[in-house]
Symmetry: C2
Subunit: 573 residues, 2 copies
C-alpha cells in the first residue's frame, strides 16, 4: 500500500497536487475532500460566465478536451478519490486523522492520513456594514453564486448593479454586467483609485476613464456605508457619504482573506496573511502541507510576507507540494505580482512592485512612463501602449512594470518578459538589452519595453528631468500655484493651437523640428514643461536645451497618457 494523502479543498491547488502526485507516485492513495459538490473549476472564469462569453458553467468545470471534472472523472481518469459535500471539522494531528462530516447525511467519520494537504483557498471579505445579508447581495465566492446571478440576469431581474470594490474581480464583474447585459452598473471603491496597491495612479486613471467611457459609473474614495432593503426585504440601494445608488443586485468584491481557520484551530502557525509555510510548502507540522490562496506568500521583489490569492500561483504551488510528497525536493520561493486584466476593449497589466508600494517598502524608487507603439508605426494595426517602469535609483534594479493597451496580447508580451527579468533581479541595462523578437507586425525595432528601459536609463543617469503626470495635472488644475512655468509644446501646430488659444502666454508652441533654429525665443527665467505626445521628442529637446543652459522638465508619457486619463482643463475644440 502506498502513502495515504488527504487533501482538504478541491478547486485549484488541491486537484493539481492530487493529479501530479498520482503521476509521480501511482501507489499513493489520494483523497480530496471538499464541502461543495462542484469542484475543480476555473474560478477566474466566473465573470466571463456571467457576461455570457462562456455560455455554460460546465465549461468552467471541463477539461480542455470537454470532459467534466467531477468525482467520477477524478477516480476514473486520475485515480484520485473525491469526497464532495464533505466538511472537515477538525484535524487531529497526533493521531494523523481528520474528523469529517457528510453535509447531506450528517454522518461523521475519521479519516487517516500519512500526509495532509490544506488547500482551503480564500474567502471574500464581507464589509461590516448594515444590509450585507440582504437578498440580492452577492459575493463571488463559488460557482453556485455565479449560477444564481446569471439566472437572475437571464430572467431580466437585474437592470441596476452596484459593485463594492475596485479590485480585479469587481472590475471584471462590472464589465460583465455593463457590456453584455446592458445593466446600469456602478462601482464604488473606498480608496482614491482603482486597483489600489497594484497599479499606480496614472494607470489606474487610464483604466477608470476607459471603464467610464464604457458606461460604468465609478465612484472613487467613497465607502459603502450601508445597503438598504425594499419592502420585500431585497437589497435596493447602496448608501455612501455622497450618494445613494439604486441597485437590483449588489456585488461585494472587497477583497479576500485566507481561509485558514481550520489550520489555526488545529494549532498550525498562521499569520494574518495565511498559513505559514516553508519553501517546501510544509506548515509548522512537517506532515501537513498547504498551497493556494490560504498560505502566507512572499513577495520576491520586496522580500515581504503577503497574501497572493491567484489561480496561477495555486497551480504552481500544488505542483511543488506534489513533488515534495513524492520525494522531489522542489521549492517555492514566492511570487512577484504578475497580473493582467481585460477591461472592455483594453488590457491592463503589471508585474513586480508599483511605485507607491516600492516607496512604502523602503526602496529608493523612481519611475518613468513612456508611450511607445506596440508594433511598427507604419503597420496598420499599431497602437500606443503606455508602459511605466519602476526602478531603484541606487542599484538600477527594475522593481516593476505596468502597461495599458488595447485588448490583445501586446501588453501581456511586455509584462511576461519583464516578469522573467524581474524574477532574476534584472537591471535597467538588462531590460535595455533584452532581445525582444522583432518584425513590423509584432514590435518596433527597438521594442516598447527596451525603449522604456532606455528612458529609465536616461532618468537614472541624470540625463532626463521629468515632471510627473500627477504634478503636471495639479499645476494645470491650479495654474497660479506655480507662476514661473510655461508649457513648451513641440507638437504639430494643429495639435498645440487650441492650447495656445486657451492658455495664452503660458503656452509656447515651437514645433520639434524648429527648436534648433528658434531656441533663442525661449525664456531663460522660467521652467519650461516640454510637451509632446509620448515624451520621446521632449527628451531630445531637453538635451539640446540643457546644452543651451535653459531649464526644462519633460512630461513623461506626454499628452497621449493625459488624454487616456482625461482632464477637466483640456480645451474644447
Amino acid at each position: 500500500m502506498g502513502q495515504k494523502i488527504l487533501i482538504i479543498g478541491g478547486v485549484a491547488a488541491g486537484p493539481k497536487t492530487a493529479c501530479r502526485l498520482n503521476r509521480l507516485d501511482p501507489e499513493a492513495e489520494i483523497t480530496i475532500i471538499d464541502q461543495d459538490n462542484l469542484i475543480s473549476y476555473g474560478g477566474c472564469g466566473i465573470p466571463y460566465y456571467i457576461s455570457g462569453d462562456v455560455s455554460d458553467e460546465k465549461e468552467l468545470r471541463n477539461t480542455s478536451f470537454h470532459t467534466t471534472r467531477d468525482e467520477s472523472f477524478f477516480i476514473n481518469a486520475k485515480g484520485v478519490t473525491v469526497l464532495t459535500r464533505t466538511r472537515v471539522l477538525a484535524i487531529n494531528r497526533n493521531k494523523r486523522e481528520v474528523e469529517a462530516e457528510n453535509l447531506d447525511t450528517g454522518t461523521r467519520k475519521s479519516i487517516k492520513y500519512d500526509k495532509l494537504v490544506i488547500t482551503t483557498g480564500s474567502q471574500p471579505y464581507i464589509l461590516p456594514i448594515p444590509g450585507v445579508d440582504l437578498d440580492g447581495v452577492f459575493i463571488i465566492s463559488d460557482l453556485h453564486k455565479a449560477i444564481t446571478i446569471k439566472e437572475r440576469l437571464a430572467r431580466g431581474e437585474i437592470s441596476k448593479a452596484v459593485i463594492i470594490g475596485g479590485g480585479a474581480i469587481g472590475l471584471e464583474m462590472a464589465e460583465s454586467f455593463a457590456d453584455l447585459w446592458g445593466v446600469t452598473t456602478s462601482l464604488i471603491e473606498f480608496m482614491p483609485q482603482l486597483l489600489p496597491n497594484i497599479l499606480d495612479s496614472d494607470f489606474a486613471g487610464m483604466l477608470a476613464k476607459h471603464m467610464r467611457d464604457h458606461g460604468v459609473n465609478i465612484y472613487l474614495g467613497e465607502a459603502a456605508q450601508s445597503i438598504e432593503a425594499d419592502l420585500n426585504g431585497k437589497a435596493c440601494k447602496v448608501i455612501t457619504a455622497n450618494r445613494e445608488i439604486e441597485a437590483d443586485i449588489v456585488i461585494m468584491a472587497a477583497g479576500v482573506r485566507p481561509r485558514a481557520q481550520l489550520a489555526e484551530d488545529s494549532g498550525l502557525l498562521v499569520s494574518k496573511f495565511g498559513i505559514v509555510v516553508n519553501n517546501r510548502l510544509q506548515t509548522s507540522d512537517p506532515d501537513i502541507y498547504a498551497a493556494g490562496d490560504c498560505i502566507e506568500n512572499t513577495h520576491l521583489v520586496s522580500g515581504k510576507k503577503c497574501m497572493a490569492p491567484m489561480g496561477s500561483l495555486a497551480n504552481r504551488e500544488g505542483r511543488i507540494v506534489a513533488d515534495n510528497l513524492a520525494g522531489i525536493p522542489s521549492t517555492y520561493e514566492g511570487w512577484i505580482g504578475s497580473f493582467v486584466m481585460k477591461a472592455f476593449e483594453c488590457c491592463v497589466g503589471g508585474t513586480g512592485l508599483s511605485y507607491q508600494t516600492a516607496k512604502a517598502e523602503g526602496f529608493d524608487a523612481d519611475y518613468v512612463i513612456s508611450a511607445q507603439s506596440d508594433r511598427a508605426h507604419f503597420f496598420p494595426e499599431q497602437a500606443v501602449i503606455p508602459l511605466q517602469m519602476v526602478f531603484d535609483r541606487k542599484t538600477r534594479r527594475v522593481l516593476g512594470l505596468q502597461g495599458f493597451g488595447p485588448m490583445n496580447d501586446a501588453v501581456l508580451a511586455r509584462i511576461d518578459a519583464a516578469a522573467a527579468l524581474i524574477a532574476k533581479g534584472g537591471t535597467i541595462d538588462d531590460f535595455s538589452k533584452l532581445e525582444m523578437a522583432y518584425a513590423p507586425p509584432f514590435a518596433t525595432a527597438l521594442d516598447a519595453l527596451n525603449a522604456t528601459a532606455n528612458v529609465a536609463d536616461n532618468k537614472a543617469s541624470g540625463r532626463l528631468q521629468t515632471i510627473s503626470i500627477t504634478d503636471f495635472m495639479a499645476w494645470m488644475d491650479n495654474l497660479d500655484s506655480h507662476p514661473d512655468w510655461v508649457a513648451l509644446d513641440i507638437r504639430h501646430p494643429a495639435e498645440s493651437e487650441m492650447f495656445v488659444k486657451k492658455y495664452g502666454a503660458r503656452w509656447l508652441p515651437v514645433p520639434y523640428v524648429n527648436i534648433r533654429q528658434r531656441y533663442r525665443e525661449l525664456p531663460t527665467d522660467k521652467t519650461m514643461i516640454i510637451i509632446c505626445d509620448a515624451g520621446t521628442r521632449s527628451y531630445e529637446i531637453q538635451r539640446f536645451l540643457d546644452y543651451k543652459k535653459f531649464h526644462s522638465l519633460v512630461l513623461g508619457g506626454g499628452f497621449n497618457c493625459i488624454r487616456r486619463i482625461g482632464a477637466d482643463w483640456w480645451p474644447s475644440k
Copy 2:
C-alpha cells in the same frame, strides 16, 4: 569644437548612433555618409509596403509623428549632417580621413574624422547561376528595388512570381505577392525545410503547410539552377532539377553577407561573419567602431561567432556605439536569436538555439513539443499554440524555444519571456516557475510556457519517454519498418474511429478516461505509441502504464501538431 564623428551608412545603426550621440554629446560634429538618396528607413517593412499593408514608401521613412527622415530632418531636428549620394572610396586610417565621391557630380573630397563608425549593413547573396542579371530578377536590397516591384505589380505586369530562398525575407515576400495581389507564387528552398537553422523541421513543416494552404507553391530541397529569358531578354522561367517554373518576376532572397569590403580594404580585421569588434563595438582600430549587419556577432547561447543581420540588433548596437563615443562604457555581448514572423494568418517565432543547431554546437540537447492553449480553454478566442523547448540534458539549461500560432501576439509573449530567461541562463525550473501574467482572456492558469517547461522537466527527469514527430511520421510512412508497435489512441472514439478503420489491429482505441479500467486489454509484447491531441493526456497514461509495466512512447505535441504539418497517411473521412 567637439569631436568629429563620421558615420558610413545611413539606414539603421548609423542614424541610431548619430541621434543618440547628439543627445549625449551635443558638441560633437556628426556626419552620416550614404551612397543612396533614401536613408533611415524601415527596411523590414519592405514586404508590407509591397503587399500594400503600407500604402506609401514614405511611411517607411517617416517618424512615428509623420515627418520624413531626410537630410533636412536630420540637420534641423537632430543636429546631424547627412551626405547622401556619397560613396566612401577608401579609409586612410593614418590620416584619420576618408576619401568620398559625390555620385551625382563625381567630385571627390577627403573628410577628416576623430572617430569613424562603419554601419554599412549587409548585401544580398546572389546565387552564381545563369540569368541572375536579367530584367525581372530582383534582390530586396533597398527601397528603390521595392518601389520598382510595386510599380510593376500596380501596372498588372506580374501574375507569376518565383522566390528563391525560404528564409524570412523570402517568406514575407511570398505572402506579399500571393495575399494581396493574387499573384501565382512559388518559393524554392535549397534546404529540405523552410527557415533552415532557425526552426526545427516540425515547426518548419507547420509553416510550409500553412503557406501551401494559402496558395504558395513550396519546393523544398530544390536548387534554382538557372533563370531563363524570354525573347525580350526578360526573366520568364526558373529551372530546378525537377521542374521549370514560369515567372514574371524572380526574387532572389538567398540570404545576405556582411558589407565589409571597405573595412577589409582599409586593413581592419574582418572574418567571414563580418567586421571583427570587441564588446565596446570597436574594430581592430580603436578609433573605428562598427555596428549593424556588417559586424561579426556572437551567439550568447552557443558562444559561437556568427552573422546576425537584424534591424532590432542594429538599433541596439548603434546605441552602444553612441554611448562609447560619449564616454559611457556600455557593452554589447551578443544576441540570442529572437525572431518572430507573420505568415498569412499565422505567426511563427523562436529564440535561442534550435535543436538541430544545439546538437551541432555540441550540446547534449533534447527537446519537447507541447500543444497547449494560449488562453483559458473556455475562453471563446482560445487557440492552441505548439511550443518546442530545447534544453541541455546535463545542465537542464533551456537553450531555445520555438512557437507557432495564430496571427496575434500570443506566440510573441512566450518568445519574449523565454528570451529574457535564456539570456540569463535560465533552466527548465526557472521556466517552470516563471510567473506569467494570468487572466482567462490572456493565458491559462499554468501558462503554455510553464506547461511546456513542465513537460521538459518530465522528459529531463526520465519520467516521460517520447517518440519524435519525425520518427513517428517515418514509421507511419513505412508501417512495416517497425513491426512491434501499436498506436494506443486515447482520444474520443469519434476521433480515433477513422484511424481504426484504416489501420486495423495496429490502432488500439481506448479512451483516456477508460484506461485504468481496461489496461489489461493492452499488449505487453509491443511498444505502444500513445496518441492524444496534445501529448498531455498521453503523458498521464504513460505514467500509469509504466507503473503497470507496459512499454509505451508518447507522441509529443500529439495529433494537433501532426494535423498542422499534414501527412499523406492521414485517413480520409
